[in-house]
């Protein structure tokens, strides 16, 4: 039973560039949430996708956007990268928006460095 997988694991970008991060949810899960974890901080909620739509959004600018595909996988896109976007980006999956068990299953993250 595959867990949550994310790619790439590490990447380096320069300011102003754009990045796309990818996530495959745990088998059987239909909901994907994205979190940003800056160094020394806890994960901060970016947004949640369910049924291919953004259902909830955290306090992040429009430069952060996402997509969910029919197979439930998801992408996180960040445009016009800033130095402050350097962080670990975590994908978490759940079933039925988490209503079934309330539990999030996390991937190992994509570490983005912006120079």
């Amino acid at each position: 039973d595959a867990g949550v997988t994310q790619s790439p694991t590490h990447l380096i970008k320069t300011r102003g560039q754009q990045v796309t991060l990818r996530c495959s949810p745990k088998s059987g899960h239909d909901t994907v949430s994205w979190y940003q974890q800056a160094l020394g901080q806890g994960p901060q909620f970016i947004f949640q996708y369910y049924e291919e739509e953004e259902r909830q959004r955290g306090n992040f600018p429009d430069r952060f956007s996402g997509h969910q595909f029919p197979n439930y996988s998801s992408e996180l896109n960040v445009n016009a990268l800033l130095l402050g976007d350097s962080a670990l980006y975590l994908c978490a999956s759940s079933l039925d928006r988490g209503l079934s068990s309330g539990e999030l299953f996390f991937g190992e993250g994509s570490r983005l460095t912006v120079l």
């Binding site: 867990g3 979190y35 806890g42 909620f45 928006r97 309330g102 539990e103 991937g107």
Partner: protein, 113 residues
Amino acid sequence: AQSVSQHNHHVILSEAASLELGCNYSYGGTVNLFWYVQYPGQHLQLLLKYFSGDPLVKGIKGFEAEFIKSKFSFNLRKPSVQWSDTAEYFCAGALYNFNKFYFGSGTKLNVKP
């Protein structure tokens, strides 16, 4: 505004010592509370959760947490830690619909053998 705070950023204990990690939450309504753990080199995983009912909840590996509504707290405890408990621990909260989790800043636990 909803938030979760953890008091201790770094805790160092010897094996067999007792552990208590503090967590306080700030919510306007019904809250669901969680402790997640991240072992070195691994992903975040659920340790235990509280939705309602018995305020003392037991999780994996001998951990437990007590929900005290009057203190807005959900502290994590373990009577006797092991070296393998070395990890970072995150307290988290979610409202009734679980669509957004709020995490504390984490506590790094270092258990000396």
